[in-house]
């Protein structure tokens, strides 16, 4: 059985011992002397899970894996229904996926737990509306309508995973409308003056 690698000090990376004997109690690092507090969990002592190997077909009636015809299928993919052997089964959040669906799901953002980044259209619209006001206001003749367009375009796009982001889109639309209205009023005023 392999022993787990020792915990290390976050500052000096030296191995720390005895920290977990008293969870949460401050204790100085043996190398750098900084105070450390630590909590360990049963997963630290858990041996690594054995590698999963595909089982070979034993009878002609056995269902085979879609990707490996000689291996026995164990579960169907929860998205496409293809039969999968232990090697091809990607278990995620209690669901089983085939490698193809994982790839497609990641690209199309269909599997929420595979999302690693998101573009925040509300933030982009707000930047477009706000930066010209601070840096070079005549640009607002273009950026005002553009901010509204970007905010509306991104309205139905996936928002932040944490549920934030619509607020900036609303602020961007209001700012964009104000900038556009200001330019319309300016042109109307000039038109009347001449």
């Amino acid at each position: 059985m392999t022993t787990p690698a020792p915990l290390t000090c976050p500052k000096c990376q030296a191995a720390i011992t005895g920290l977990l004997a008293s969870p949460g109690a401050p204790r100085p690092c043996g190398a750098c002397g900084r105070l450390l507090e630590g909590w360990s969990f049963p997963a630290l002592q858990r041996p690594p899970a054995p590698a999963r190997l595909a089982e070979a077909l034993v009878a002609v009636e056995d269902a085979g894996c879609f990707y490996h015809a000689q291996s026995r299928a164990q579960v169907p993919c929860d998205l496409c229904g293809r039969f999968l052997c232990a090697l091809c089964d990607v278990e995620l959040h209690g669901q089983h996926f085939c490698p193809g669906c994982v790839n497609t799901g990641k690209k199309k953002k269909q599997i929420r737990n595979l999302d690693t980044d998101r573009l925040l259209y509300g933030g982009i619209a707000l930047m477009i509306a706000l930066l010209p006001v601070l840096l070079f206001w005549p640009l607002t003749i273009i950026t005002g309508p553009l901010a509204i367009f970007v905010a509306v375009y991104g309205w139905n796009k996936p928002p932040s995973l944490t549920g934030t982001g619509r607020g900036s889109a609303i602020v961007a639309i209001v700012l964009g409308l104000l900038e556009t209205a200001a330019w319309i009023l300016l042109f109307l005023g000039l038109f009347k003056a001449f």
């Binding site: 976050p10 949460g24 105070l35 450390l36 507090e37 360990s40 969990f41 690693t116 995973l161």
Partner: protein, 152 residues
């Protein structure tokens, strides 16, 4: 209205144009790195967390001393300027003393890491000892409960 999956945990790590926050879900932690117009995510499932380590750092103390020293330096010219001008230097000194006071009141700084079987990840949002202890006290029983249930 859809039920919220993530609940924000206290603390925010700030860098130039970037910030980092930690969110709690039913079975995992979500580390969110915000980059002005986009966000990137890392998930740490409670069943995989092996250890949480907090290390006290001196950066907060150093920052307080530097700001207070700059504030004190801004006060020096007050003795040499004509009447009425001292107000300008008081304002300048306050620009340093106030952040120094706020930094001091926020308490000592720390560095927090989360370890799983395959990685050791910094949690930049837990950069104050007070906040780190509060968050870890909240997470510790949840992680322990999940792993207790998972034990064969």
């Amino acid at each position: 209205m859809a039920e919220r999956i993530y609940h924000r945990l206290p603390g925010r790590g700030r860098q130039f144009l970037n910030s980092s926050t930690l969110w709690e879900a039913a079975d995992h932690l979500l580390l969110v790195q915000s980059h002005l117009v986009s966000e990137s995510y890392r998930r740490f499932f409670f069943r995989d967390v092996q250890a949480l380590v907090v290390c006290e750092t001196k950066s907060g103390l150093v920052m307080t001393i530097v700001l207070a020293a700059l504030g004190a330096l801004a006060c020096v010219p007050m003795a040499f300027v004509p009447d009425g001008w001292w107000m300008a230097f008081v304002a300048l000194a306050l620009l340093f003393f106030l952040p120094a006071l706020i930094n001091f009141l926020r308490g000592p700084t720390c560095r927090c890491t989360l370890r799983t079987a395959v990685q050791t990840q910094d949690l930049p949002s837990l950069n104050r000892l007070k906040i780190a202890r509060k968050v870890l006290a909240r997470l510790q029983p949840k992680i322990a409960a999940v792993q207790q249930d998972a034990t064969p």
